[in-house]
Symmetry: C2
Subunit: 641 residues, 2 copies
């Protein structure tokens, strides 16, 4: 990421938003300095744990992780742009964390303040290892950004403490986290420290999961708890601990837990060259992508347990599709791509990123969706008592008591440079996974090679690359051919190239000796696509979704009037796309021909034998990620046809 | 009803089922003599209240009403058919009730056994007046059937006690029932006793409702309860007590409460000639029929509060549509018809009866639905945790802990003779509201006139009437022209009549001097109708329902394979109906042309730009009321077109 600079209008703007608005806003929230939002108390908890304040712990058991995610984001932000004031704030927060760390290395304000004698007694529910994971990610990020090792030292001590308590060795508890996260964090830590013990601890957590006798039962027995369910309600599949991970075939349970676990598994499989573990990841991937993912890259179709349900159960209005789950899917897809460079992984990563993730945040970066449905009828959400209690809201909220999503978007967008390129030194392949205006520098044979990418993506599919270096260098430039793209053209220094001959696994590979000033032009045809779902997906029966490039579109009431389900695409909808500078901070919109019922033709009867007359209307669809940034109202992705 | 005998295949069979199977089964249930069903304890509660047994009260606060409904049904059954053994059982049960009545006339086993000092302290939640209402209905039914006044005397004493405690007079509590029911029961009682005080008590309950200061608040204050909500959760609209009844414009709250209240209101309006009260009924009726009723006559679209939600919110899969609510709608529609003879009331009565009510009971009378959705995907109900807890079941159940629906169906079907005809002596109009094979006798000018109705309804629309009497008599025979019927022919003694000229408010009126042997033949065209909903009803957008005569049809998985939402009617579906003797105890079925996705044409991708090929299929639709009497599986009323 240090080698990557994003400089386009789309993501550059998003990163600027994170730096200028989101990071200060979230710091305010962590310090309870923002009026009219649910209190966080995260900083205050650390002060109390450090013995510097009196008071009670407040918040979820995982409140520490909000500060950790903020620090992780700050690390990425400081990589993008020097900011001494911000760095000083972060340093102070890190010092506070250090003071809250216990003499034996233990670090968790919830247990330190509220349950001092009960550490490691409920790994299933109490998120100690989850918070540890986020703190490790923060430490790695901050260290890589600043070179400062204070937080890294803190978490290394904490990991030493964890290793002294948990593990397969005699005298240790054979525990593992109820909420996976530390696995992928330990992999990051290992890559910084090179300390094999960090890799081994990750490996232990991954493979111990779901073994029998079940650890969560053993610790429940020790606590004297009769009920052996997550949070008293959910089965062990909720935390993907119902089976050893290599035996799991379906993406079950809490969707964020699943994504974090699978990410750690993919990291570990890559690091160890563990084919059986990677195959387990493949099985899970196939199930998710083939039967359990919304077209937006949203995942987890049930609020109960924030969980997956079963194959093809993807209702639009009661979708859960938590923002964090789509972020987790980006993490996992990115890691799958590191193991096995196939465009399908990058396609899903891109789908989740441009749709299910970005819908989680308002265009001004100040409001968030926790739940991302594909259809909203506000009256139903607001008037039906069975829906009022849902986390599903008809408009984005400033902050959430369970504030996992806002900082999660922030850290992903700030670190997006990590996701665009990769380089495989073994066969000197330089991959471009995502099309974003950016520059990247790679050290090849002792010289810095700069690859510049210029594009209006996602609004058009033309991408220009130019290479800047002093001498020459032989390598392969591998450009992703997105799955959504049915036709593309390619030129190297103006000379048209045959794409199909040089494509492997969805990447076109240009192998040559490159030199300064070389130019590559990729033109991805980006027509409007009418997408249908597999017939088993009932929620989309008889309906189509509009997609252009990676962007999934939706209808909003503000453009199309109320009662969106009444709209039916024409058989020849003559869809056209154009860019509107003034709409939603600048987006492409799709217009086309559709029909609506003629209200004057109806006889006013609730049920009638008289067919309703149809009248032609023009519809206007906007990118799903940008919905609900104007007048609140109805929204729908799938349109009748 | 005493003058009516139903003798056709359809309803005759249903009544036989009630007499032979349902009454004995339910008696067993009330006596906890049926294995493997939830215990009732209703009889036992009376024994304990009578001091003849030791033990605790068990069951809902309204458990007494199950015995009352059974006795009411027995009354109707004994009218239909003498049965000395049954009458002895009922007499014994009535004696038991008498022994459980307290010296001051009070009668309620829950309070007598469990809360002896707390009578009339929570009218809002505790159902004392509701149970009283059902006991009154039982008493009237049994008295009318047998001439025995034992139960009538019991309830008259109870009503005297109620009048001494509740009322507008000084020193009384200005209370009224949290669950309406006693209002319509008092009207029945008044019609038997002629005692004005019974009418006045009904009138008081109706008009006191929703007055301020709110009685339910006052009694909550007396109890020291801080929370002023029904059952701690529901607003006063739940019991239609949010406003005085004459100011209520929308059918809000608990749907069964609403139907029972509106029934009592209509009764009272008719009795008193109270135009303002009838106008209130009209407003509520228009709202229900225009915006809140399922095509099946199901009402109440939310399980939360078993309640109405808001206009046009009629989801198919999470419909509540409690069987008892459709029964209540039959009651109300029947009473509206008594006030104002318009076919729209009879149409709705018929719609609810043939669809939403009868779907509540299995064809063998042994299993019941509490909830009657218009679409079922069993996997969703069984695997989605957010739906598992619902009263919605994918198959009918033997009995319910809250056993309101089974005896409610029984009493309605057994008393169906009440709903077919009415006679208005003022202008000598003899109305036929429902077409069912039956005989009815009316005393006209001192002689018994018998009207015989012969028909295969609802399977065809031909109805033959013949008149049998000794002399001649001048009266009007008024035959309902169902709203579903677009064309009908009529003959009197073989001579074709012009219908339109003699129709008033949807009834064709034949005024003449009738004599023995006169024949009337009515031929109602009964083609298959393709019904569409008003465009505001989103759950039916782009869909059609099939109806023939009063019968709403549905698709079942057992006839059409799984994944019913994939089915799309052809633009010319060439629908035909035929009677199948062997199917579902003999029903008409509809077959026609439709399309399904060709699974072999799909590329297996969850989302794809490749349009799915369609293949033609034949669909088979069966009457909605008869669904789920074969292999359990998917069901759906609204079909894509």
């Amino acid at each position: 990421m240090k080698q990557v600079t994003i400089n386009d209008l789309f993501w550059g703007k998003q990163q600027k938003l994170i730096l200028e608005n989101v990071i200060p806003f979230q710091w305010g929230a962590l310090n309870d300095a923002i009026p009219d939002i649910e209190p966080s108390h995260a900083i205050e908890n650390f002060r109390i744990a450090a013995g510097e304040k009196q008071g009670d712990y407040y918040g979820r058991v995982f409140q520490d992780s909000d500060l950790a995610k903020w620090l992780e984001t700050v690390g990425y932000a400081l990589t993008l742009q020097k900011d001494e004031a911000l760095e000083q704030l972060a340093d102070k927060a890190i010092e506070l964390i250090g003071r809250a760390q216990q003499p034996d290395g233990y670090l968790n304000t919830y247990f330190t303040v509220s349950k001092p004698g009960q550490r490691w007694t409920n790994l299933r529910d109490d998120h100690e290892l989850y918070c540890a994971g986020h703190m490790i990610e923060a430490a790695v990020s901050y260290y890589e950004a600043t070179g400062k090792s204070r937080l890294l030292d803190i978490v290394i001590r904490f990991v030493e403490h964890i290793s002294s308590v948990l593990g397969a060795e005699p005298g240790k508890k054979r525990g593992y986290p109820g909420h996976p996260e530390i696995e992928l964090a330990l992999m990051k830590l290992y890559r910084v420290t090179g300390d094999k013990r960090h890799l081994e601890l990750c490996s232990y957590f991954v493979d111990e999961r779901g073994q029998h006798p079940h650890f969560f039962d053993l610790e429940a027995d020790e606590r004297g708890d009769a009920v052996k369910l997550h949070r008293g309600r959910y089965p062990y599949s909720y935390s993907q601990s119902h089976l050893p991970v290599r035996e799991q075939l379906a993406t079950d349970g809490h969707s964020v837990r699943a994504m974090y676990l699978y990410s750690g598994m993919a990291d570990l499989a890559a690091e160890l060259g563990d084919a059986s573990l990677f195959n387990a990841c493949r099985e899970l991937w196939s199930n998710l992508i083939g039967a359990r993912m919304y077209i937006t890259g949203g995942i987890g179709s049930s609020e109960y347990g924030e969980a997956f349900t079963f194959d093809y159960d993807l209702p639009n209005d009661i979708a859960y599709a938590e923002t964090c789950a789509s972020i987790g899917l980006v993490f996992w897809a990115h890691r799958m791509l590191q193991c096995d460079t196939r465009n399908e992984y990058a396609d899903v990563m891109e789908r989740a990123l441009y749709n299910g993730v970005m819908s989680g945040m308002s265009l001004d970066g100040k409001k968030y969706f926790y739940v991302n449905p594909l259809e909203i009828w506000p009256e139903s959400c607001e008037l039906r008592e069975d829906r009022k209690r849902s986390r599903l809201k008809t408009t984005r909220q400033h902050w959430w008591g369970c504030a996992c999503c806002p900082p999660n978007i922030a850290r992903l967008v700030a670190s997006l440079g990590d996701y665009i390129y990769s380089y495989n030194p073994t066969n000197r392949e330089w991959f471009v996974h995502l099309y974003m205006g950016s520059k990247v520098v790679q050290l090849l044979d002792g010289q810095h090679v700069e690859l510049s990418q210029t594009t209006n993506y996602p609004w058009d599919g033309n991408v220009d690359f130019s290479i800047s270096m002093e001498g020459q260098s032989e390598f392969t430039l591998a450009l992703r051919l997105p799955g959504w793209c049915r036709s593309a053209q390619l030129w190297v220094n103006g000379e048209a190239m045959e794409i199909s001959e040089s494509s492997v696994n969805g990447y076109v590979k240009l192998h040559r000796s490159w030199t300064n000033g070389d130019c590559v032009k990729l033109a991805l045809d980006m027509p409007i696509e009418i997408i249908r779902a597999i017939p088993k997906l009932r929620a989309a029966a008889g309906k189509a979704a509009l997609q252009r490039g990676p962007i999934v579109f939706c209808l909003e009431e503000t453009d199309n009037g109320a009662n969106l389900p009444d709209i039916c695409l024409s058989s020849e909808p003559k869809l056209t796309a154009h860019y509107e500078e003034q709409t939603l901070n600048g987006v492409s919109v799709i217009t086309g021909a559709a029909f609506r019922s003629d209200p004057t033709s109806a006889d006013g009867q609730l049920y009638s034998t008289a067919p309703t007359k149809k009248v032609p209307v023009q519809i206007k669809a906007v990118p799903y990620f940008a919905w609900c940034n104007r007048e609140p109202g109805e929204m729908q992705v799938w349109i009748r046809e």
